[in-house]
């Protein structure tokens, strides 16, 4: 039995095509400006002098990120009306009939997973395509990725398969929330922080 559903993301494989982001919007009928899965373009660096030679030190990779259905969902701890709750299989839900729309959880989540949704006039977020998953199918984002950069499953199984990396730049310290997330880093990620890499596509995410 699944005790904690989780996503896997392979930053080395991701091309930044955003098929996952669009598949999520399409499946959940999200209007303009509401994104449950976002693809962040992380860029930095430039040129570096090595001896007498200038070599490129450009950082460029993508991070596809939705809600991480954290083991310690700080969003739910912050919510005054208990509108955010965690199912037995680890999926974290927002009850849009309870949410008062104070948007406090938006500030509390370090992954900015909670997004205001005009249709319900409340916050909203990735629900792991729970109905598809319950029916034995993959979440829409996982199914849509042409490079198989996304996977899903029980956190323990994903760790066995891919290792237990939960952090690459510029993600928050995983100790904050215990994200149910397994990552494979892009080769640029190791030096991204020291080269001052940042998200470059704020308008999009």
């Amino acid at each position: 039995m699944v005790t904690q559903y989780a996503f896997f993301f392979d930053a080395a494989a991701c091309s930044g095509c955003k098929a996952c982001q669009v598949a999520c919007k399409d499946r959940n009928d999200l209007g303009p400006g509401t994104l449950w899965r976002r693809v962040y373009e992380v860029t930095g660096g430039g040129w570096e002098k090595k001896g007498q030679v200038w070599v490129p030190s450009v950082i460029a990779y993508n991070v596809s990120m939705a809600c991480n259905h954290c083991e310690n969902p700080v969003c739910g701890a912050a919510c005054p009306v208990k509108a955010i709750w965690k199912r037995e299989d680890g999926i974290v839900f927002v009850d849009t009939d309870l949410c008062i729309g104070c948007r406090y959880c938006e500030w509390a989540c370090p992954y900015t997973a909670l997004r205001f949704h005009a249709a319900t006039n409340t916050v909203s977020k990735c629900d792991f395509c729970y109905d598809a998953v319950d029916a034995g199918k993959p979440p829409a984002c996982v199914a849509a990725c042409p490079r198989r950069a996304l996977d899903f499953g029980d956190l323990a199984d994903l760790r066995k398969k891919y290792g237990d990396l939960r952090h690459i730049h510029p993600l928050p310290d995983p100790e904050q929330t215990g994200p149910a997330l397994v990552l494979r880093p892009h080769r640029d990620a190791a030096r991204a922080a020291e080269r001052g890499a940042e998200v470059a596509n704020w308008e999009e995410v």
Partner: protein, 290 residues
């Protein structure tokens, strides 16, 4: 940033209410000989009603930041872990105690001990209200808010605007002034200076001198250094108005406070209020929403 106006109004008004209650109320309730003779009772009642009015206004305006205000009846559901629930709990407690105390004074019920006890309980609830309000913003996900900057700024606003409101009340409504007015004005001047220094001291961490927050998934906020600079200028102007009031008080006490002090103290109050409101917009502007 400007969208957060209900939170700006709520936090500034709520903090002012606590500050006014403490600064004006403490001497009225706890000074020796301040027992409930008729004028003292009137002053006590005035302070309680002013604080209660401010709290009521703050509570009303806070509903404007909710997208489903009518569902807010459940807002105390998560007192166990949510600082937002706790803030509302102490907000309601503060208001209820203010109302009970005002009622007792109004009807002349209860002895001095009961009144002082209720004052202390209301004060504790009010302090916990502003403390919860601070903790609410001290989120690990928001490094700009997650340190002493938040509670110090909030309590400073409370004491500063509370003292100035008390001074404005005495300056405007008490012909002949009160003997306590001059030290109160001096205290206000010190507090404005403290707010000014605090803003300068925290500036490097809060993105004013070009310091940028660490890279994260949170988009940059809209806090502008122009807003920050405007706040400092307004605070300086406010302190000049206060200095003018103190000078008038010292040089011509015979003028009578009503004629001589209402204008500079009122002006100082308006300027410092504007300064605190600008500062609060800047506070919210430090954190972006996607």
């Amino acid at each position: 940033m400007l969208k957060e106006w209900p939170l700006v109004a709520f936090t500034v008004a709520g903090q002012t209410a606590l500050g006014l209650f403490l600064v004006a109320g403490l001497p009225l309730f706890f000074s020796r000989g301040g027992a409930a003779d008729a004028p003292a009772r009137g002053s006590r009642l005035a302070v309680l009603l002013a604080a209660l009015g401010l709290m009521a206004a703050a509570s009303f305006v806070s509903f404007f930041h909710l997208h489903h205000p009518f569902r807010a009846v459940r807002v105390l559901a998560n007192v166990r872990t949510s600082w937002l629930s706790r803030e509302v709990l102490f907000e309601l407690g503060f208001m209820a105690l203010l109302a009970v105390l005002a009622f007792l004074l109004w009807t002349g019920t209860g002895g001095e001990g009961l009144h002082r006890g209720l004052f202390a309980a209301a004060g504790a609830s009010g302090v916990l209200f502003v403390w919860s309000m601070s903790k609410l913003y001290m989120l690990k996900a928001v490094p700009a808010w997650d340190h002493a900057y938040t509670p110090v700024s909030f309590f400073l606003t409370a004491v500063l605007l509370g003292a100035l409101t008390a001074a404005a009340f005495s300056g405007a409504f008490r012909p002949g002034g009160s003997s306590a007015l001059k030290p109160l004005l001096a205290a206000c001047l010190v507090l404005v200076a403290a707010a000014f220094l605090w803003a300068l001291l925290t500036a490097p961490v809060h993105g004013i001198f070009g310091a940028r927050p660490p890279a994260s998934l949170t988009p940059p906020g809209g806090a502008s250094s122009a807003l920050y600079a405007a706040r400092l200028i307004v605070l300086v102007l406010g302190s000049l108005a206060l200095a003018a009031a103190i000078w008038r008080e010292s040089s011509a006490p015979a003028l009578g406070a009503k004629a001589g002090l209402a204008a500079p103290v009122g002006l100082a109050w308006v300027l410092v209020l504007i300064g605190e409101v600008l500062g609060r917009f800047h506070f919210y502007g430090q954190v972006g929403r996607p």
